[in-house]
């Protein structure tokens, strides 16, 4: 607090200086006054901004430690901002151009203004550049203002509505005070009695602009996003995301350390750079616009959640929030403090804690908000962190959650089935077992879909395809366990790690080149999340860490490219493709399934939301288990998307998506897995095929051969 007092003292003495100087100068020119006043105003605003920055940084530092290379982060900042962030912003060209003009103009104008007016370097060249910068900023602010005329629902109102005016005040103010510097100001304008009034108005405009742009940047105004956002990019917890990389696996909890908190109970349990990330939010509401739970009327709005976290670590109530609420939950009833629990420990009638549990359990972890966020905020991490506390510390996993977790602990699968019956669906297929062969090319990971009759059809189709392509494969059979995906996303990190470690130990017994699975959730967990649990040495020469995990669509596409599969031409109607979140956004595989469909002779009629922006089926993150009620069902909305594409069949590549979409009543389209489509289209390659693989046997005899 020392710094603040001395700074205040400095402000007072500076003001006194203004009074002292301005009174004898009263008879002098108005420009003299401005020359005196401007440096004082600028440096006062800067000093206040620095105080605000220190206060804000202290708020962030309440969080737990996180290992970030500060220097490297700061060095990478310009590139992360100019390239990675603008890639995301640039999906809306109008806004990205507006932002370039406004933000670029502002940064240039601010620096030049400090030089020209603050330090008094009245160089006409600098002045000219300053005029140019403020003009650019003004033009940008006009576009900002235009967007605010009739803003879409996703944008926050409140203080954000005054931002275009503040931007204009700053740019016009800077423009006008710079005119004399370059000698463009007509002499007559500053003479006479009206000039004083004009100067005062001008000073007022400059104060407003400085107040919003400098003071407000660190004290919590809309411009806070620039300060916090820049540092957030520099100290991001997933630095791998920049430069075109991907980092989607959840971060492991350290269960060895008994003192470490299990998840996040209070805002200060987040790491400091998570808190910083929350503060970076611009409240643009892109997350809200893509969130399936929000669209379904479930009580979740990613934007509000992030704002609630800001309320949490800064302390206070959410009454100041001016965006869309959580559906069905009025704004202003919730409050939080840095050391107060985010979720109320007991059900309270009135005066709630920061967030209600059903808000967290509504999330399907589809990552649409994360991919859409121009500030690259990690919503899903925060949600899972808080879920971990609920499950691991309070034992409050809603609805079927507790039962599913108990089943996973007792039977290694969420349905509580006998682990020995994992291969019952394949009793007639004579699937080769890893335990017998020890070494194969491809390990076929079945996933928990092996217990689900619908997914068993997909699995049978996939086996047929693998045999047609003469792939050397085997399954783990009863040795396979649930990958731990559901447990982890329900917050039960302990059960996840137990399953992961045991699965890794099983995998380590055998030799294979790749794992193929038709379950994108297993695919993601095995490929992106097991890496944290490999023991020392397992990643070495033996096999692990070097194993490759493939989704069946990728693998089938490769088989086709290698000429090992031949398809009959497609005779069905129009087809669309639904991108599973855990294949697309989590693993960036958008192309292989489409390549397979193309190979089948299918022209994919794309849905409006496909690829990166694909809408979730509602089946991820344990959402069907926690089952938070909303106004609509997410799969219904997705099947509506399918209907709008005009397709009679929707191709999927995920057991969850199949189950969710097939559960839609009165659906207009049939749901088929890619493996089923491929299996149906299989034809024996014509004789005299030129590709090197000779095909002497049919699929059936291949099956017998493998078992021999």
């Amino acid at each position: 607090m020392d710094g603040k007092c001395s700074a205040q003292g400095w402000v007072y003495s500076a003001l006194a200086e203004v009074c002292r100087r301005s009174s004898p100068a009263a008879k002098d020119e108005v420009s003299t006054m401005l020359e005196t006043l401007l440096p004082i105003l600028i440096f006062t605003a800067l000093a206040l901004a620095v105080i605000g920055a220190v206060r804000r940084i202290r708020l962030w530092r309440q969080g737990r430690p996180s290992r970030v290379n500060l220097l490297q982060g700061l060095m990478a900042l310009p590139r992360r901002y100019l390239v990675d962030l603008h890639h995301v912003v640039g999906r809306d060209k109008m806004i990205s151009n507006t932002h370039v003009a406004t933000a670029g103009g502002f940064v240039a104008a601010a620096v030049l203004m400090i030089l020209v007016h603050g330090l008094g370097i009245a160089n006409p060249l600098l002045g000219g550049l300053l005029l140019l910068a403020s003009t650019s900023m003004f033009v940008g602010s006009l576009f900002v203002a235009r967007r605010r005329l009739n803003p879409p629902a996703r944008l926050s109102k409140g203080p954000w509505m005054r931002l275009p005016k503040s931007l204009m005040a700053f740019s016009i103010g800077v423009f006008l005070i710079t005119l004399p510097t370059v000698g463009l100001l007509p002499d007559g304008l500053v003479e006479g009695s009206g000039s004083w009034l004009l100067a005062l108005v001008l000073a007022g405009v400059v104060v407003w602009g400085l107040g919003e742009m400098f003071f407000g940047m660190t004290w919590g105004g809309p411009m806070k996003h620039a300060f916090a956002g820049a540092l957030h990019l520099a100290f991001h917890r997933r630095a791998e995301r920049f430069g075109g990389g991907r980092s989607t696996g959840l971060k492991a909890l350290n269960l060895e350390d008994e003192a470490a908190p299990l998840g996040v109970e209070k805002p200060t349990d987040f790491t400091w750079n998570q808190l910083l990330g929350f503060d970076a939010c611009v409240q643009c509401g892109r997350c809200e616009a893509v969130c399936p739970a929000f669209a379904a009327g479930q009580p979740l709005n990613p934007k509000k959640l992030i704002q609630d976290m800001v309320v949490g670590f800064a302390g206070g109530s959410d009454a100041g929030y001016a965006g869309s609420p959580y559906p069905g939950k009025p704004v202003g009833e919730h409050q939080g403090a840095p050391h107060a629990p985010i979720l109320a420990p007991v059900v309270m009638k009135e005066g709630k804690a920061l967030v209600d549990a059903e808000t967290l359990w509504s999330c399907t972890t589809c990552r649409a908000c994360v991919e859409e966020c121009p500030m690259m905020i990690e919503h899903v991490d925060a949600i899972v962190d808080m879920r971990r506390h609920l499950t691991l510390e309070r034992g409050k996993t809603p609805n079927k959650g507790a039962e599913v977790l108990d089943n996973l602990i007792a039977t290694d699968n969420p349905g509580g089935f006998d682990p020995g019956s994992r291969l019952n669906w394949a009793a007639d297929l004579n699937l080769p077992l890893m335990a017998d062969l020890k070494q194969v090319d491809v390990l076929l990971w079945l996933g928990d879909g092996a217990f689900d009759m619908r997914n068993q059809r997909t699995l049978r189709a996939l086996v047929k395809v693998l045999r047609a392509a003469e792939v050397d494969f085997a399954v783990l059979g009863a040795e396979e366990r649930d990958s731990g995906d559901v447990a982890r996303r329900l917050g039960d990190e302990a059960t996840f790690q137990s399953l992961a470690k045991r699965n890794i130990a099983t995998l380590a017994k055998y030799r294979f080149q790749q794992i193929v699975t038709c379950d994108p959730h297993s695919f993601h967990v095995l490929g992106n999340e097991y890496g944290d649990f490999l023991q020392e040495g397992q990643g070495g020469s033996d096999f692990n860490a070097s194993y490759e995990v493939r989704h069946h669509s990728t693998f089938i596409a490769e088989l086709y490219d290698a000429g090992r599969l031949t398809f009959a031409p497609w005779k069905g109607g129009s087809v669309t493709y639904h991108d599973p979140c855990y294949l697309g956004r989590y693993n960036g595989e958008y192309e292989a399934p489409r390549r397979v469909l193309k190979a089948l002779g299918i022209q994919v009629a794309e849905m409006e939301r496909s690829g990166l922006r694909s809408r979730c089926c509602g089946g991820g993150g344990g959402a069907p288990i926690t089952d938070i009620p909303g106004e609509r069902r997410i799969p219904d909305m997705r099947m509506n998307d399918v209907k709008e594409s005009g397709a009679e069949l929707v191709a999927v590549g995920c057991p969850q998506c199949t189950a969710m979409l097939e559960g839609v009543v009165d659906a207009s389209a049939e749901v088929r897995d890619i493996a089923e489509l491929v299996a149906d289209a299989l034809v024996e390659r014509p004789a005299g095929d030129v590709s090197g693989v000779s095909r002497r046997t049919t699929a059936v005899t291949t099956a017998e051969e493998v078992t021999l």
Binding site: E258, L262, P345, V346, T391, L392, E393, R394, G395, K396, T397, G401, A402, L405, D406, I409, A410, T411, G416, F417, D418, P419, D492, A494
Partner: protein, 280 residues
């Protein structure tokens, strides 16, 4: 509401001992918290809302290894945010194959809790369901089986709701100390959380263990699933089926005794048992 709650606040809590055993998952046979014992603990935890200041002593008699420790810890994982001294569990450690009854009786007699809650039947070992009765016999305390809920505890008298077949309930007033046993009629146990389970500690109490000589002579073999008897549905209409499912079993003969002395009641029961050939 409020004055009533305050009244309850003033009432002193009671000491409750919950007996827990190591369960066995029916499909995989893995150690877990036993279903019925967990329901018993749930019942005790739910009492906390009614009677703040109650103390729960979780008690286990048996051998301890890595597997069983995880199962025992999962009982304590249920006690999140319940401030009843549930951070630890009393362990009467004894070698495998020992009789649990005597150490339990000794411990209960020494600590003299007012209420003992136990599951009706263990999931491993003998699973004879005789333990509650043996304890009641040794301690000379009343026993209520198949408990549905605890209603009130006032002036040393507990009001209980006992579950009877076909969803019927019977309200009972029992003088404490008493033993109650819990089966599937009691409310399901809450989720067990990892954090509190991991932090839980064990207090090992001294015991005198005695090998179960009878058990040692038994030949144990895995149970075979008994074939299900085919159910012949005689009902012709939905109404008949509903009646068959919902109506009380209509007793043939028998008599209702009211306002009789205990001696007369005992006489009537004795006579019936003779007639039925139970007693010879």
């Amino acid at each position: 509401m409020r004055p009533e709650q305050q009244q309850k606040q003033q009432k002193p809590g009671i000491d409750v001992a919950v007996l827990v055993s190591i369960g066995r998952h029916p499909t995989t046979g893995r150690a877990r918290r036993a279903e019925q014992d967990a329901r018993g603990l749930e019942l005790a935890l739910a009492m906390e809302a009614e009677l703040p200041g109650s103390r729960i002593d979780v008690l286990h008699a048996g051998s301890q290894d890595v597997d069983s420790e995880a199962a025992l810890r999962s009982y304590l994982g249920m006690a999140t945010g319940v401030g009843m001294g549930l951070e630890s569990m009393t362990l009467l450690e004894q070698p495998e194959g020992s009789d649990a009854i005597l150490p339990l009786v000794e411990h209960l007699a020494a600590t003299s809790p007012q209420l003992v809650i136990t599951g009706a039947r263990a999931e491993r070992g003998e699973g004879s369901g005789l333990l509650p009765y043996a304890l009641a016999e040794h301690l000379g305390w009343p026993l209520v089986n198949s408990l549905a809920s605890i209603e009130t505890v006032e002036n040393g008298v507990i009001t209980l709701l006992q579950a009877l077949p076909r969803g019927q309930r019977r309200r009972l007033k029992v003088r404490l100390p008493a033993i109650i046993s819990v089966d599937e009629a009691a409310p399901a146990a809450r989720q067990s959380a990892f954090g509190p389970a991991r932090r839980a500690t064990f207090l090992v109490a001294p015991t005198t263990s005695e090998a179960d000589s009878e058990l040692a002579q038994w030949h144990l073999s895995p149970a075979r699933k008994r074939p299900k008897r085919l159910k012949i549905i005689k009902a012709a209409s939905a109404r008949d089926r509903f009646k068959a499912a919902a109506s009380k079993a209509e007793g043939k003969g028998g008599q209702v005794l009211t306002d009789v002395t205990p001696e007369q009641g005992a006489e009537a029961i004795y006579k019936l048992l003779k007639e039925e050939g139970v007693l010879r």
